[in-house]
């Protein structure tokens, strides 16, 4: 299979650390659920590699060990708020003894997440890449739209974990595990000459919706909430995963 050959190549070359933990996302067309421009857009997404799971606390601990400038005692406030790695027991110890291996790292700023991905030879997924994967997960696992909407509203409203196992791509998380940083998370919607930085103010969302069904509202909530983070924001449920260009692997 092509995918196996790809990963094999990766391992043989012994290039960045992503290797077998990443998944090939096949290219395809993607229609964003939010109107980023006046017209409904269909975007062609190139195939890329994506971490199968959010970056773990253990992996992030390795990163700060080799990159001391990103330890919580060293990283300047310019690049993170006061909550950065707050739940760790020390500079290098995420305190995961009691937790399962692979617990996603949270309390990380956008700057820190980007630095991590860069150190792995990758980058944060773009909004298009990340949302495209969500659309693939829904489509390939035949998730009913209302079920998807309930997951999203339950997750954002009450941090209700989503009981969903992806059997198509082998992706873990993305819906209802942790929220994830993406490269271009801030919305900037253009509508002719007018540029709307907030992405719709109070009650003013209809003009930004491709469709008015429950699933589109759910997706809009994610776009909008994410857009309101600042790059230094850290929260207890905000982590990330990395993406990598496919050509880099070949």
């Amino acid at each position: 299979m092509r995918l196996h050959r790809l990963l094999l190549t990766v391992c043989l070359l012994n290039v960045p650390a992503w290797g077998s933990d990443s998944v090939v996302i096949p290219g395809g067309d993607f229609q964003p659920p939010v109107l980023l421009d006046r017209e409904i857009q269909t975007t062609e997404v190139e195939a890329f590699l994506l971490d199968a799971a959010p970056v773990s606390k253990t992996a992030f601990a390795e990163f700060v060990t080799t990159h001391p400038e990103w330890r919580r005692s060293a990283a300047p406030r310019l690049f993170r708020d006061g909550g950065y790695l707050r739940n760790w027991t020390s500079d290098l110890d995420p305190g995961v003894e009691q937790e399962a291996q692979g617990t996603p790292v949270t309390h990380v700023s956008w700057y820190a997440a980007r630095a991590f991905c860069h150190s792995r030879g990758g980058h944060l997924p773009s909004m298009t890449q990340w949302e495209y994967v969500v659309s693939l997960l829904r489509e390939k696992n035949q998730v009913p739209d209302d079920e998807y909407a309930r997951w999203v509203f339950g997750w954002y409203g009450a941090q209700r974990p989503v009981d969903f196992v992806d059997r198509a791509l082998g992706i873990k998380g993305m819906l209802g595990l942790v929220n994830e940083w993406i490269e271009d998370y801030q919305l900037l919607l253009s509508n002719g000459e007018q540029i709307d930085f907030g992405g719709g103010s109070c009650g003013d969302t209809a003009r930004l919706m491709v469709k008015y069904d429950n699933a589109h509202y759910a997706s809009f909530l994610r776009y909008q909430s994410r857009s309101n983070y600042t790059p230094v924001t850290t929260t207890s449920n905000l982590g990330f995963r990395c993406a990598y260009p496919l050509e880099g692997a070949l």
Binding site: A149, Y156, A158, L221, T230
Partner: protein, 382 residues
């Protein structure tokens, strides 16, 4: 320290005492540097500041900030500057027996605290987004205003801390400002501080204006501000009791052993519960207590988010009604007062005789979903 989001306009601390144009009032309104006055009202307020702070103290601070259904009387003359803090954070609240959900709150209750000021007062408002923090509102707090003792005296929502990190904002309908500045959204961990001047009297809604505004309000982010007219209402010295009632809808569905927000129901305006003061039994388990012959004044706000209310007191006639709480908008002899979402009124009636009075939304589908309360009248001394 100035951050990207908080380049505060330097005011220099200069206060200019200004007389209200064309009016013989006392010089109570002060213009700060950069502000201007039209028709005695103050505009052009300083830019909001957004910053981070280590504050972990009481989330509600203010001498004139109360828990429902109480209103703190204005025991000062003329105008005053109020320093008010109402933080936003999550809280498990009960809205009906056995029905609790992870609410997004101001101050830990749904609806949030009530602020009382006088027309012409200035409010310096601070709000920290503590949605990623477990904030306890049931521990005793001293010296921060009446809110905590009132809340803890009747914990009908069984408030318990919870977290759900979300961006939030604060929109005071009582303020006249540029919304993209003062009402802007802040991320978890950020604090916003801004001022507004109570230019117009009324009973106003405040709420979160962050999209989806339907979800944010339905999740519990709203409350009332009462701006009393600078010369009062004509009946002020006859009123025996004042109560605040906020009507609102919940759109909840069962998920496991708890309840979550149902966006589809909210879009269809099909509430699971409609309440006075946030719980179907709030004004039944703790009825309003009065005496026959008393003049009762209600400050009623319909917070919505989407439904109307036909507010009615069974057995009484509302002999004076000031629509939106403005003394200029006086109605007489009303049986019901129709309030759209975010409409309000000050309503007065005389308690006819000892007995039990029901307060209802006379749109009975709403009353059947919980929009009802009780007032008990005891005999007067004869």
């Amino acid at each position: 320290m100035i951050t990207v989001r908080s380049v505060a306009r330097m005011t220099g601390g200069v206060l200019l005492a200004m007389f209200i144009a064309g009016c013989s009032q006392t010089p109570t309104n002060h213009l700060k540097d950069g502000e201007f006055m039209i028709d005695g009202k103050i505009f052009g307020l300083a830019e909001a500041e957004v910053f981070t702070e280590d504050y972990a103290g009481p989330p509600v601070v203010g001498d004139y900030v109360t828990a429902l259904p109480f209103l703190k009387p204005l025991d000062y003359k003329g105008n005053k500057t109020h320093e008010v803090r109402i933080d936003t954070f999550s809280q498990m609240v009960e809205v009906a027996p056995g029905v609790s959900f992870n609410a997004w709150t101001y101050g830990g209750t749904v609806p949030g605290p009530t602020l009382h000021v006088r027309e012409g007062d200035r409010v310096i408002f601070t709000m920290k987004n503590r949605s990623d923090e477990e904030v306890v509102v049931t521990d005793p707090v001293k010296g921060m205003g009446p809110f905590y003792s009132q809340l803890q005296g009747n914990l009908y929502q069984k408030n318990r801390p919870s977290t759900s990190p979300m961006p939030h904002s604060m929109d005071f309908h009582s303020g006249t400002v540029a919304a993209d500045d003062k009402w802007r959204t802040i991320a978890p961990g950020e604090t916003i501080r801004f001022e507004w001047v109570a230019n117009y009297p009324g009973v106003y809604m405040y709420h979160c204006g962050t999209p989806s505004v339907l979800m944010h309000t339905a999740m519990g982010q709203y409350g009332a501000v009462v701006v009393s007219p600078k010369n009062g209402f004509p009946t002020d010295d006859k009123v025996d009791h004042e109560f605040v009632i906020v009507q609102s809808e919940y759109y909840l569905e069962k998920a496991g052993d708890t309840y979550i927000y149902n966006h589809q129901a909210a879009m269809a305006r099909d509430p699971s519960h409609v309440t006075f003061n946030g719980h179907v039994s709030a004004l039944i388990d703790s009825p309003l207590r009065v005496k026959e012959g008393d003049r009762v004044r209600l400050y009623v706000l319909n917070a919505g988010p989407s439904d109307t209310s036909s507010f009615h007191v069974i057995g009484a006639i509302l002999d004076r009604v000031w629509y939106e709480g403005n003394v200029e908008n006086e109605w007489r002899g009303m049986q019901t007062v129709l309030l759209g979402a975010s409409n309000s009124a000050v309503m007065e009636f005389i308690v006819p005789e000892a007995g039990l009075y029901k307060l209802v939304d006379h749109e009975f589908a709403d009353a059947e979903r919980g929009a009802a309360g009780t007032m008990i009248a005891t005999p007067r001394d004869r």
